[in-house]
Symmetry: D2
Subunit: 347 residues, 4 copies
């Protein structure tokens, strides 16, 4: 199979750079177009990207000329890491031109006909794109980074035991805020107990993703999430403390078994970016830790530890994931892999 040409929208940003990192040697996709703001358009990528990754810009990408978000594109699939200040109309415009937009941006996530997809969790939600009115093009999103790991950890519990309520407190890495993002004066030796709109995103995206696709609409799951979001002095990796009330009572051992045995279609289909186990369960009482565990399964796993009884709800646990890989660019690429193999997008 020839590789499918793809474009990266928002190619100079932090998520865009992670797309480049993940797609540089991808077996299905080939980076054909880089798209950014008017200021960058017409220039060589290496000149204008403020590259912040620990590996160099892939040579094939370094010399590419960047396009503008108004330009016509030839790639059928567009991976979007656009800033939310511009993503809404740009993504929609490209969808109307027939492109498949696979987006990490928040703008269309809560649109009724746009699914927020994790292929292991709610692949059936993808069918709602048939209701989209873009004339052949589509928009599919992945969730907010901190929501991602929560939903992956809740999904098997919801199926096995029924989730009735969730309390989550996050300790989020600075890479989630892009570049320049969080000023060092705000975060060195500090905790900032607020991230704009993050709690709302976690509370509403979680129930949409764990909801039911009725054939015509996505009905949100009938439980409530309460989120408290904090920024901490960590480079990569969002850590979350989670308490869950369950419909059918379960022991920590049963919960750990269900988490460990969780598999989805990406595992069955052996998609390139799919982690062997979506969830890695720790038994050591001081894990997972972002600085040690965030790169397990190449950043695509969700790590869970300290599963134990909660005296107020039923079960409490610690959840961790790589916010810019599984929580952003990697999520979108996995969506692309799944959609391609299942025929939702055509080369």
């Amino acid at each position: 199979m020839d590789k499918i040409p793809v474009a990266i929208l928002g190619a100079t940003g932090q998520v865009g750079q992670k797309f480049i990192f993940l797609l540089a040697d991808h077996p299905y996709f080939r980076i054909a177009e880089l798209v950014a703001s008017q200021r960058s358009a017409g220039k060589r990528y290496a000149e204008i990207a403020n590259w912040k990754q620990t590996t160099p810009i892939p040579p094939a990408v370094a010399g590419m000329t960047v396009k503008y978000t108004d330009d016509s594109l030839v790639s059928p699939i567009l991976f979007s890491g656009l800033d939310s200040s511009v993503a809404g109309p740009v993504e929609e415009a490209y969808a109307r031109k027939g492109h498949h937009v696979i987006s990490n941006s928040k703008n269309h996530r809560m649109d009724p006909d746009v699914p927020i997809v994790i292929p292991e969790v709610n692949p059936e939600h993808l069918d709602i794109i048939r209701s989209q009115k873009f004339g052949g093009g589509t928009i599919v999103t992945n969730s907010n980074c901190s929501t991602m790991f929560l939903v992956i950890a809740l999904a098997p519990l919801h199926k096995a035991f029924g989730v009735e309520a969730v309390q989550v407190t996050t300790m989020q890495a600075v890479s989630g805020a892009g570049y320049p993002g969080v000023p060092s004066l705000d975060i060195l030796g500090n905790v900032v107990p607020y991230i704009g709109e993050e709690e709302e995103k976690m509370e509403r995206e979680t129930v949409k993703m764990l909801g039911t696709f009725t054939g015509s609409a996505i009905e949100p799951a009938r439980f409530v999430v309460s989120a408290q979001c904090n920024r901490v002095a960590v480079h990569d990796g969002h850590t979350e403390t989670v308490s869950v009330r369950l419909h059918s009572k379960a022991t920590p051992a049963q919960v750990m078994t269900v988490l460990r045995e969780f598999r989805g279609l990406p595992q069955e289909m052996k998609l390139p970016l799919a982690p062997e186990n979506p969830i890695i369960v720790f038994e050591d009482n001081d894990r997972p830790q972002p600085a040690r565990d965030v790169w397990l399964a190449r950043g695509m796993a969700t790590m869970v530890g300290r599963v134990r009884p909660c005296p107020v709800m039923d079960i409490k646990m610690v959840v961790l994931g790589h916010n810019t890989i599984r929580g952003a660019a990697g999520a979108a690429v996995l969506n692309g892999e799944y959609m391609l193999k299942k025929g939702y997008v055509k080369p």
Copy 2:
């Protein structure tokens, strides 16, 4: 009034150093004796203290000869910052010799006849020391550092609205672990989602302190606390996200008013270390922050921010305090001030 001579047990440790910092110019107390392990005994304090404070060792203390925890002491009041590996029997032995031991150590906190006291919150618990069987001496404790701020924030809510359940996640500073304490390899750019015994302490000390003194026993409050404790790369200041279920429903505005108006006996008595307001309430949505706010009221206030509805419980909020001042040495000194003025200890 002549100043009362006091001894500091565990004078070389981090809590001991904070006792020295707080007592160096105290209007009631005079540091008369420094007590430490056998290794330090007989030496000048300045020689053997691994002084880690940002102000120099007070000159009057620097030259004092350190005593051993087996030595007889002349001070009626002993402030103890002993390590829990030795505090149990040492504190008890001094109490049996007639000393008033005001301790920051965990060892005796859960003894039925030992109160855990915050003078603003449960000063009446002090009366239980009449049941103590030490022959005139007494042991009084303050709570664990992370429990302190939770209890101060809950106390006015419990009185006004009735607390029914509490979820708390902490993000705790490294100074809470003493010196050498947390290795830098474990915490730079990291979160460690576990602190030994900390969750248990928060869960049981909270209900003891907010319980009722019946005249003969302390009956714990009838609600449940679920704690999740994390270490973060912060020097001083424990930040806590808290969700509370209340018996009488209350709006965030009502909660903020109750917190703001909270006063206790230390404020009325104008005790030297008492903060003017025990609780400082923030309205900015990104406060309190440890690096900015932890030294308000000389480290003796409890800061509360982001009071808002919790979709799962009733109210959620962020709580912050200085873990080695109000959460440790300052708590014990305030207990000493209160006990002296109320006649619980005699010079």
Copy 3:
């Protein structure tokens, strides 16, 4: 004496905030006017300052209405913390209107008729302001923050032994870059071995300040400085490793004595912000350290440690100072105090 009204130019920036912190209760000066960019003008200070200090905005300042840098001012003395992108013409315009501009900005430092003054080091350079052609107004500057501590440490050595060459490597705090300043993605767990223009400033300002005022010009000192400047993950405090070649050979003990005994006119005149000893010398081999020592003498001292022979030059040592106090706002205020008491500025 009535307090002199002063204006703060650049009042909302990080240096401006430190001016407010230092002048809030100053015995000579009274904050009468706050001046900032057009965006802030006309608004209450508390509304538009992004206040980043650990003490609250002084109440008398919080309600003041901010003026624009084009506005006429009534204060005879203007303390300037203006950003270098605008300081040049603004400061000059105010000087031409007859104001005494005491500036922390770099723009006029290398003007032949503008002195860079440290009252302990080169107060005689102030006389060059008589050559200034502003029609009564004046501009006086203090040095760049990292230069400040180097010059204070070199000054007594240059006088006693003659400095012939200097090598300096800095490890500079993030607060030196203002707000938002250094992105956290750039500095968490990192060293950035470059600060724009900083090395040039250190190399040329040092010899200007240690040069000779001939009556009509400042002749730079005849030695060479080589600087290597780095940003590190420190909040406040620039640490510098320094090697010096001396004309008259000196032992470390002699160097330490000369540093310890150094005093200047601010000490003799007991100026409010003058540290008792301009230089504090440490004998412990692991000091000074920014997190421990930077607030000594309220941030106005220069700390020196590890004075020892250098096998390549003659003497090596470690120098530390508080970059936003002695290295910026405090330096300008001390200049103001000195100029007022010596009659260089008239109320």
Copy 4:
């Protein structure tokens, strides 16, 4: 060729763990024995190693039973990461039993008949092991971590232009101090301007390594090094600012060319751990940075940037390397690879 069995001395320490990481899939060597202190002996490695790496313990190693440093070993080659408190006699004892000890420990480095080897720099020094009096066994060392990168950067300059004097200031990562190593209270937001014995090591090891093997002795190079060593809040990667006086004057461009073109025998022999280019030269003015560049060439390269004229010496530059890979375990493994291929050690 069958893989050579090797033992790792000090297998549970931080350097020992890096040996395991590097040797787990090595084409020449096979981990056959793990050796540690008596406390660990007889236990399964996974039980007693306080594993701090970001990849799991290799399965083949996890189940191995740890031996004691008094035990007889069967492996001909021993890689030693022993703590310096015990390395001296233990390494010597094993050498006397006929083993080839390739050590990262400091204890024997300055022995006249023990070489400190970097295969790219001074492979001829290895011949001095023929003078060793261990009865067939040998001891070969690599340098201290911070010395390593300095020597690699100086070697081509010394050859091309002649080094006459060196000033170096280091900013060293905490991983260099082992575990638990640097307490977080000492380094969060701080710089510690002292590392015990580090400056002496840099000053004497550098000239030994760049010295001349006369056939019977190693004559140190005839220039002087002055080192100032600091600990900073960086996880991995020592950054060094270096100033060099050269015998033959050279422009920055010439220096960069010589650094870029530097190759050694490991490159020619394509040894498994040899980086393609021993030195990577940066032209961006803010590089190299530890958090971004330390893993280039799998941690085996030395990064150099900011090559520019020094007004006091001749050339200044910034040098960076991975202190626990190229600066420790990787250096020893590369020595082992070279010694095996050149016949210094026999299977």
